[in-house]
């Protein structure tokens, strides 16, 4: 299988063309303030694009090395002066071999390797050995250093602790999530999967056969946190450090499961409680839950003459758990895997001391009515529109956004992908927008408390 690498990503919607990245690059690579030396080039002109198909004419664009997986610059080099580094993924340029023939520049369709007349040879981005100067100075967060690739490498060395062939729906986000999670958590664990999609896909198995290679059980929908607390108490008593992991749906978390969850959080029980939020009871046929956003079609909030989807708003469980002052609380999305992994590591560590709560947003192709292939895109837009936000919390640190909520994409961009929102009136969309704005404002207020302290 292929290897994934870290990479610099560019979000043109966030870039304001300030050019700080180019200055930082020129300084880092040439000790100069002249951006001619920059290996990242931001193109800010707002003149119209010539191509009628280019939809985003006037947008800010970027020319830099993509560190291609199948690099033509390398193929074109007659002197073996360019090589794809199998460890870092960057395309390394070797000064001692380069003959200045410029054939590499012919291979690059991205303006990523160019001749610098002032220094007399080609230059290209080398990712600053994994600590890119441009990313560090970007004031808008338009440039990010995405480490998902190396995460996938790391995780592929670890055992998949769920059996192959779990019967999740096509495109299921939860299966992806639980497989990755358990690889990271490892085998010294007891896993609780209250009724819902996760055991429904066979994790606890059927008729005497298990779906998981670690201890796993069905708690009730109502008592996951309590059962895990009891298990942990006994292991503590006999001096064994075993991780307690709950993989629960939003109903088992915020509706009937809430009392035991709240109690366990209050007692700071040592466990990692994960909410896989697909905004309803998807396993039993897409009924509405406390996590279902207003306006959503579900099988118990149908669309008809008298009712146009759910009439009330969803509750923000992550925020509620933050108010329990848990050891660790975070929200995550699988479109931002590196962010998730960072939080998972923190949550595992926190669960050794007390209650850790991870709220993972899990768009459901079957229940929300979108094509199975679009799951990650829906995840991404859910975050980019601020419909959900990515942050974490500890009592010492307070709330910290791990992804900026500034410059969100339009709510409609998110909603239009999803069948359960197809019927929404303008007023309903406006309501959701207001609701999202309120949530962001409220969370930002908590963030400010963090900054003050």
């Amino acid at each position: 299988m292929g290897i994934g690498y870290n990479t610099i990503t560019f979000n043109q919607d966030k870039c304001d063309g300030c050019g700080d990245c180019m200055l930082a690059c020129a300084q880092a690579k040439a000790g100069s303030d002249d951006i001619v030396h920059s290996r990242i080039q931001i193109l800010t002109t707002d003149q119209p694009s010539g191509d009628p198909q280019a939809s985003d004419s006037g947008a800010i664009e970027l020319a830099m090395c993509r560190q291609c997986g199948d690099p033509k610059c390398v193929s074109n080099c007659p002197a073996a002066a360019l090589t794809k580094n199998a460890t870092t993924g960057t395309i390394d340029w070797h000064a001692d071999k380069c003959v200045n023939c410029l054939l590499c520049t012919v291979g690059c369709a991205f303006g990523g390797i160019t001749y610098n007349a002032e220094i007399g040879h080609v230059t290209k981005c080398d990712s600053c050995d994994g600590n890119p100067a441009c990313v560090k100075v970007c004031p808008k967060g338009a440039l990010e250093y995405n480490t998902s690739g190396s995460i996938y490498n790391r995780i592929s060395d670890k055992d998949d602790l769920f059996v192959p062939g779990l019967s999740a729906c096509q495109g299921c986000n939860s299966e992806l999530l639980i497989r990755h999670t358990l690889r990271n958590v490892g085998t010294n664990v007891v896993v609780a999967t209250p009724p819902g999609c996760i055991p429904g896909m066979g994790t606890v198995g059927y008729n005497g056969k298990t779906g998981t290679k670690v201890p796993v059980f069905h708690p009730l929908l109502t008592n996951t946190a309590s059962m895990l607390a009891g298990i942990k108490k006994q292991y503590n008593r006999v001096g064994r450090d075993v991780t307690m992991l709950a993989l629960a749906g939003d109903g088992g978390v915020g509706d009937v499961g809430f009392q035991s969850l709240s109690g366990a959080a209050e007692r700071n029980e040592q466990q990692l409680f994960m909410c896989v939020d697909n905004e309803g009871y998807m396993n039993t046929g897409m009924q509405s839950s406390g996590s279902t956003p207003a306006g959503s079609w579900t099988s118990t909030t149908p669309v008809g003459k008298e009712m146009q989807g759910k009439r009330t708003d969803a509750k923000n469980m992550a925020k509620i758990m933050m108010m329990h002052n848990c050891e660790y609380v975070a929200t995550a999305s699988l479109a931002f895997m590196d962010d998730y992994y960072e939080k998972l590591d923190k949550a595992i560590a926190a669960s050794k001391h007390g209650f850790a709560y991870l709220h993972v947003y899990a768009p459901c192709p079957t229940g929300w009515r979108f094509p199975a292939a679009d799951t990650i895109e829906v995840c991404r837009k859910q975050v980019e529109s601020n419909f959900v936000t990515l942050w974490d919390f500890t009592p010492e640190q307070g709330l910290r956004f791990t992804r900026s909520t500034d410059n969100p994409i339009k709510m409609a961009e998110y909603l239009k992908q999803i069948g359960k929102y197809r019927h929404l009136s303008e007023a309903q969309v406006e309501h959701l927008q207001r609701r999202v704005n309120d949530q962001v404002r409220s969370l930002k207020a908590f963030e400010q408390l963090t900054e003050v302290s």
Binding site: G50, P78, C108, T114
Partner: protein, 431 residues
């Protein structure tokens, strides 16, 4: 009888690219690469730099031995192909070995043309196509005082510059009236030539050597005397023949492989014979601009062809048609850069004969600064762009040509700033 799934003859860019394409799709199928060379794979393009000493002969390998081990490639050196028997999937080597293949790639490249000049065969002369050639030329340059270079193509020009830098008195003899014919238009060629003039190289343009004889005074028979069509005679103790190359496909005789200037191939680099493909300098493939088939001798084209051949041989489902050869040249001389992507001269090549009102030529020249930029449009589409000391991304220009992007709306801006405009078009089109 040795047998392999993939048999590849040749070891330069097209062959290597085919190997990596095959290994993307089929990591296990037995693969043998046979080369007439005695070295690890290298590029002929790097040889002028071996001559100049910028590259060391032992440091130019494009792959090392571990590459072949890691990718399960059997690498056979010092063997050339003698004949092919397509009916029984057999390739016969010069030592009589009969290799049975399932799929055969011919990437045998080209060899120097030795012009039929009377007496040339009687004198010691050098060419530059192999690593041995480069080492020999470098050794000779360190002993000789006066050099004659036949031909002002890329090899000749590179060679001449290297020899002059090594302290030799150098004369270039070129039949045509400009240097680098076919690569740059006469005006750009003149700018390049003037750099050579300034560096004291004797340029005999528009002249032919009509006869060559040994220098009688020279006991070791290293020297020669060249007589030009003007009657002038020139003496030299080093003679470099660089009058072009021609594809090597003598092994095709009797095989029923269709050949012309090279081995004729279709858009998947497939020959007319089952299970045989050809790529690189030896292949005569679709031209981008016309319906004819051409041999190009262009490194990026060889890479492209090798990739397509490898994908076709390994049944890669993402195989696409070859979009056609586009002339692309980059040339560095005396610290200056000359780049040409696509056609550079409307009076010759594929655009020759186009009604001139359909063509738009934008020329920007600043002779004092050594700046040259020429852009040729047809129907608002880029046909070619060439420049000396001009800033542009050749790879992006190539894509603009291949994709036939309509530049009507940005033409003015493009002419003024081809680099920036090209990048912006890139971002909006194929990022």
């Amino acid at each position: 009888m040795p047998h392999c799934k993939y048999l590849i003859i040749g070891s330069s860019h097209a062959a290597l690219e085919a190997v990596s394409a095959i290994r993307m799709q089929d990591t296990e199928g037995s693969l043998t690469m046979i080369t007439r060379d005695s070295h690890l794979p290298y590029s002929p393009t790097v040889l002028p730099y071996v001559v100049s000493g910028r590259s060391k002969a032992d440091n130019v390998a494009l792959r090392d031995q571990s590459y072949f081990e890691q990718h399960a490639v059997e690498f056979v050196t010092n063997r050339s192909l003698s004949s092919i028997e397509p009916d029984c999937n057999t390739a016969v080597l010069d030592n009589g070995d009969r290799w049975q293949y399932e799929k055969l790639l011919l990437a045998t490249g080209a060899s120097p043309i030795i012009p039929p000049i009377p007496g040339l065969d009687k004198v010691k002369h050098l060419v530059l196509r192999t690593l041995e050639d480069a080492v020999a030329l470098r050794d000779a340059s360190q002993k000789a005082k006066k050099a004659i270079v036949l031909g002002a193509g890329l090899v000749g020009m590179h060679g001449a510059e290297n020899l002059a830098e090594a302290g030799l008195e150098v004369t270039i003899i070129e039949m045509q009236t400009q240097v680098l014919p076919g690569y740059f238009d006469p005006q750009a060629a003149q700018m390049i030539q003037s750099a050579f003039d300034q560096h004291g190289i004797n340029m005999k343009m528009g002249h032919k050597a009509v006869s060559i004889s040994p220098q009688s005074s020279d006991q070791q028979n290293t020297g020669c005397r060249v007589e030009l069509d003007s009657g002038e005679t020139l003496d030299a103790d080093l003679l470099l023949v660089s009058t072009g190359v021609r594809p090597i496909f003598d092994y095709c005789s009797g095989s029923h492989l269709q050949t012309d200037q090279g081995i004729l191939v279709d858009n998947h680099m497939s020959t007319n014979q089952k299970n045989i493909w050809a790529a690189g300098d030896v292949a005569q493939a679709k031209d981008f601009y016309s319906d004819t088939k051409v041999t190009t001798g262009i490194l990026p084209d060889a890479v492209e062809q090798g990739r397509i051949a490898g994908m076709a041989m390994s049944d890669d489902p993402s195989l696409k048609n070859y979009s056609g050869g586009v002339p692309i040249n980059t040339y560095t001389f005396y610290g200056q850069q000359a780049i040409s992507v696509g056609t550079s001269d409307s009076s010759s090549g594929p655009l020759n004969g186009e009604p001139t009102d359909k063509l738009e030529i934008e020329l920007t020249v600043d002779s004092d600064k050594g700046y040259f930029q020429k852009i040729i449009f047809k129907d608002n589409r880029l046909q070619g762009i060439s420049g000396i000391n001009a800033a542009l991304d050749p790879g992006i220009m190539w894509q603009l040509i291949l994709r036939r992007i309509d530049l009507g709306a940005v033409k003015k801006e493009f002419v003024a700033q081809p680099l920036e405009t090209g990048r912006r078009l890139m971002s909006g089109t194929w990022r």
